[in-house]
């Protein structure tokens, strides 16, 4: 079994307000986990904290990745170590094309390994981009567009998965990648993710709905509510949630404060 992402008793606050209240979760390479839960339960917070978003304050617990506690690491270091987040709301950056951005990201990896590295050649990079864009049925003109600038919701999500395909992480977190995608786009994007699946990749699929899980089939399903994982199980748990909704979760785990 490959290296793992291990979250231990993680507590997180935003602007002094506690959001995550003791999260435990382990995702190993080769596994696919789903994290479900009603809006506002803290799923995106967890995703952002895993990559080190400075807007969130970790007040307790540990994040272990490949055997190291990464809490003190900057986001770029975590990324180069093999963590990836497909954002729920990707920001747009004018002036930086998708292609240039990805080349810089690849070169940052090569330079971190070998400070003398000249980076990926333009030819190799072009080939890589084309192959991955074709896999996601993206028009090649996307490469020359400014990062997420003027992209539709669905285009942004596709561009996120393109980045994942190019950067080849060992653990990827997909935060509501299904939202904003119509059924065709969802199928294409899911197939793309499935092609990347393998013993070297662990995936945490964050979603509100069962829908995407028909395409990206998880081995483990977790339910988050009010900053904690309140239930874990197999794929059947997702189906149960689909039928009954989140009300039973709310009723059973409503915290009285």
């Amino acid at each position: 079994m490959g290296a793992a992402l291990e979250i231990r008793n993680l507590h997180v606050s935003v602007e002094g307000k506690p959001i995550l209240r003791g999260v435990d979760l382990t995702v190993k390479q080769g596994e696919v986990h789903a994290l479900m839960g009603p809006n506002g339960s803290g799923k995106s917070t967890l995703a952002n904290v895993l990559l080190g978003n400075p807007a969130y304050e970790v007040t307790g617990g540990e994040i272990i990745f490949k055997g190291e506690n990464i809490l003190e690491q900057e986001p770029d270091v975590r990324s180069r170590a093999g963590l990836f987040l497909a954002f729920q709301y990707p920001v747009s950056i004018p002036g930086v094309t998708l292609a240039n951005f990805l080349r810089l990201a690849i070169n940052a990896r090569l330079k971190a390994e070998d400070p003398e590295s000249k980076g990926i050649s333009i030819g190799d990079f072009r080939k890589l981009m084309r192959a991955k864009m074709d896999m996601l049925q993206m028009d090649h003109s996307f490469a020359g567009r400014y990062l997420n600038e003027g992209f539709s919701g669905g285009e942004k999500k596709r561009a996120e998965i393109l980045q994942m395909a190019v950067l080849q992480p060992s653990v990827a977190i997909l935060d509501e990648t299904d939202s904003g995608l119509d059924i065709d786009a969802l199928r294409i994007v899911s197939e793309g993710v499935n092609k990347l699946r393998g013993p070297g990749l662990g995936v945490l699929v964050i979603t509100h709905y069962q829908r995407i899980l028909n395409y990206i089939r998880p081995e483990f399903v977790h339910v988050m509510y009010n900053g904690r994982i309140v239930e874990s199980g197999g794929p059947d748990l997702a189906l149960r949630l689909e039928e009954t909704g989140y009300d039973w979760v709310r009723e059973r785990f409503e915290v009285v404060e």
């Binding site: 770029d76 002036g95 951005f101």
Partner: protein, 448 residues
């Protein structure tokens, strides 16, 4: 305790030029009498006007008392400089393989003057201003500091009119579209005083694109530049004008830049301010003709101890005129910037659309940026709006880039460049965009 008496702040020093200096300069440049007389008339005005100090509203926040005239005011000596002394990036053609019109000065001396055949065949005059005064009196005399920048508007305008050392003259006759861009470089590699002038006349229905670079080599002592730019855009004419300033950090710049825009004419003006220790610049557009349309784009980036004071004014002197001004600036270290904008209209000028905005990116706790918009509108069927915003570098885009493995320095650079991008793209030459990006990068990464 020793009692301290508060004194009035000391007034700024004045330079010690004399009437004899004006006469000597005019003599050296072998100027016609009319020009010599106009210089001397300006000198009289100069002597009557006070050095501007903080008692004047336009100078209230502007302090240039660290300027040492004895050092900075010395007129630059001619040194037989060569074109190749100018950095290569500023000498290369703006687009394509060959220069269109290219005029270069070093320390106020012409070192290169070239106009492609196609320009001269079109009847376009492109030469240095001294030559133009001698050979084209009919074109220059009625327009030089009579219509746009006038000697009486301030001490430095009068000083410029009396003592300008060099200049460029562009004349595009009626109905002619200049096929090639015109490039002017004013470069200094010696400290001291230079007073440069640019006069551009684009007659009715004519079109031109002009780019001016101001820059200087790193110097050990102070310099001063007292400049004037006059853009005369005739009815139905179209002028794209780009001026980029990257003086060294010992430069004090005082400049007046004014455009007059005729009926149904268009002016697209891009201004980049990167260099100098101190800048006080007046940038004004006069929308004189019905249907005139002006876009002014300003980029500035102040770092270390730089001080930039940019005064802009959009005067709607005719109905159905449109002006759109956007300045974007950044300041870091202990730098200071100030933008003061004004939109004015004459009474009863209807259907006026004026916009002014200054967006400020504050990159350090010790930097200070001010932006003061203003409106003086005396008509009612108008749409005039203004905006001033201030912000620090947004953390979420930086995080996004870092989450893909890009180190913080580089991520911040990319986000800051993104802030300027919409204005950079308004420069119609990719090579020029590239060198401006490079100087932004140097500033952003610079003093880490």
């Amino acid at each position: 305790m020793v009692a301290v008496t508060r004194r009035r702040p000391t007034a700024p020093d004045a330079p010690s030029y004399s009437r004899a200096d004006i006469e000597a300069l005019s003599e050296k440049l072998k100027e016609p009498t009319w020009l010599r007389d106009s210089r001397l008339a300006a000198w009289e005005l100069y002597e009557e006007l006070p050095m501007p100090d903080r008692a004047l509203e336009e100078w209230r926040r502007t302090d240039y008392r660290s300027l040492r005239w004895d050092e900075a005011g010395r007129m630059s000596a001619s040194l037989d400089s060569r074109l190749t002394a100018i950095p290569a990036a500023n000498r290369e053609p703006l687009a394509g393989e060959e220069q269109g019109g290219f005029l270069a000065f070093i320390n106020g001396e012409v070192v290169h003057s070239e106009a492609a055949d196609s320009l001269s065949r079109q009847g376009i005059v492109f030469t240095d201003l001294s030559t133009a005064c001698r050979l084209h009196e009919d074109l220059v005399r009625p327009n030089l500091m009579t219509r746009a920048v006038k000697p009486g508007e301030g001490k430095f305008a009068a000083l410029h009119a009396a003592l300008w050392t060099h200049g460029a003259f562009v004349y595009v006759p009626r109905g002619t579209a200049a096929e090639l861009p015109i490039h002017i470089v004013m470069y200094n590699d010696q400290p001291g005083a230079t007073l440069g002038h640019v006069l551009v006349i684009v007659e009715d229905g004519a079109q031109a694109t002009v780019l001016v670079d101001y820059l200087s080599a790193q110097a050990q002592s102070q310099s001063v530049y007292v400049g004037a730019t006059e853009l005369l855009v005739g009815s139905g004419a179209n002028l794209r004008y780009v001026s980029l300033q990257d003086w060294d950090r010992q430069m004090f710049e005082f400049s007046y830049q004014r455009a007059r825009v005729g009926r149904d004419a268009a002016l697209d003006w891009v201004i980049g301010t990167m260099g100098s220790r101190f800048v006080k610049s007046f940038i004004e557009v006069e929308l004189d003709g019905t249907g005139a349309n002006v876009q002014v784009s300003g980029m500035f980036f102040a770092d270390k101890g730089q001080f930039f004071d940019l005064d802009t004014q959009q005067n709607h002197n005719a109905p159905l005129t449109t002006s759109n001004l956007l300045f974007k600036g950044a300041a870091k270290d202990t730098a200071r910037s100030l933008w003061q904008g004004m939109i004015k209209s004459l009474p009863d000028m209807q259907k006026i659309d004026g916009f002014q905005a200054c967006r400020n990116l504050v990159l350090s706790d010790e930097a200070r940026m001010d932006a003061i918009p203003g409106l003086e509108i005396e008509a009612d069927d108008v749409r005039c709006t203004h905006a001033a915003t201030f912000g620090t570098l947004e953390e979420q885009p930086v995080f996004y880039l870092m989450s893909r493995g890009i180190p913080r320095d580089q991520a911040e650079l990319m986000v800051a460049e993104g802030f300027f991008e919409e204005l950079l793209e308004r420069i119609p030459f990719e090579r020029v965009q590239a060198r401006l990006r490079a100087s932004l990068e140097a500033k952003i990464i610079g003093s880490r």
